[in-house]
């Protein structure tokens, strides 16, 4: 028992020494998550602006739709002065847990857009999560 306690103390002392030696834990990357929910009617679109204060990867996840299983268009782009979202990339996706679209972008203002790719036959509520650096 004494040996075990001594060993634990020794390890603790070493850990303390390491901290004193300037070894630090890896820095964490902060990722902001923004949630956006709305309704898509047949032929309509909905978009949300967001700003990146630093460059990195923007990912968008269509997390839910109601009714479920509806495929929606999902895109990332740049807001026009008119307020519409000029899409750089887009996909047709059903709700899931993994990001359906991601792009690398520099610090600036962007937009996420959800649209009817021709599959929406009734008002469909949705939620997307925007993940950004």
């Amino acid at each position: 028992m004494r040996i075990r306690i001594a060993a634990i103390c020794w390890v603790a002392l070493l850990a303390g020494a390491c901290e004193d030696a300037g070894i630090t834990s890896p820095s964490e990357t902060t990722i902001d998550l923004n949630t956006f929910s709305s309704i898509i009617n047949p032929g309509s679109t909905a978009s949300r602006e967001f700003t990146l204060t630093s460059g990195g990867t923007v990912a968008i996840t269509l997390t839910t739709t109601a009714p479920s299983g509806v495929a929606l268009g999902l895109g990332i782009g740049i807001p026009r002065s008119s307020g519409s979202c000029a899409l750089s990339a887009g996909v047709e996706a059903v709700a899931g847990g993994a990001a359906q679209i991601a792009m690398t972008a520099e610090a600036a203002t962007y937009c996420a857009k959800v649209y009817d790719p021709g599959t929406v036959t009734a008002p469909t509520t949705f939620t997307i999560v925007i993940s950004r650096p």
Binding site: V58, I78, A86, L87, A89, G90, T104, A105, E106, A108
Partner: protein, 138 residues
């Protein structure tokens, strides 16, 4: 020196000491780069260009932000270029064939003056496309 004089000098010194610790706020006169969006419709095998003016020298960056048909993004390649207005056109100095992106695709160090950004269909679009180009300049 009278007591009043001594007190007066002491107050002046204290006041001076305090004033040295107060930092005068600086006005935010620095202006950041300008972001300009150029949007339009590009017909097959045609070009369009837009002019902009630099009042200070610096780096101009440009990217093809979107290529869409009926609001749906397309993967078509278009040529974007930066140059100087020449006659009724834009004499491009640098250019690249690119698809839509959110990171700069062209960078050009420019002096003060008037420049232009050009978009061209060199691949042969099957139909007219709407496009947006983002230019950031000093």
């Amino acid at each position: 020196m009278t007591v009043k004089a001594i007190v007066g000098v002491a107050l002046m010194l204290a006041s001076a000491a305090c004033s040295e610790e107060i930092e005068t706020p600086t006005s935010a006169t620095a202006t950041g780069p300008a972001t300009v969006l150029f949007s339009g419709t590009l017909q097959p095998r045609t070009t369009r260009f837009y002019s902009f003016t630099l009042t200070t020298s610096g780096t101009v960056s440009a990217l093809l932000a979107s290529v869409e048909r009926n609001g749906v993004p397309a993967a078509n390649l278009l040529e974007i270029g930066i140059g100087s207005p020449a006659g009724t056109g834009c004499a491009v100095t640098i250019s690249a064939n690119v698809s839509a992106s959110l990171i700069p695709q062209l960078r050009y160090d420019a002096a003060e003056g008037t420049y232009c950004v050009r978009v061209a269909d060199t691949e042969g679009l099957s139909a007219p496309m709407t496009f947006t180009i983002r230019v950031i300049h000093p």
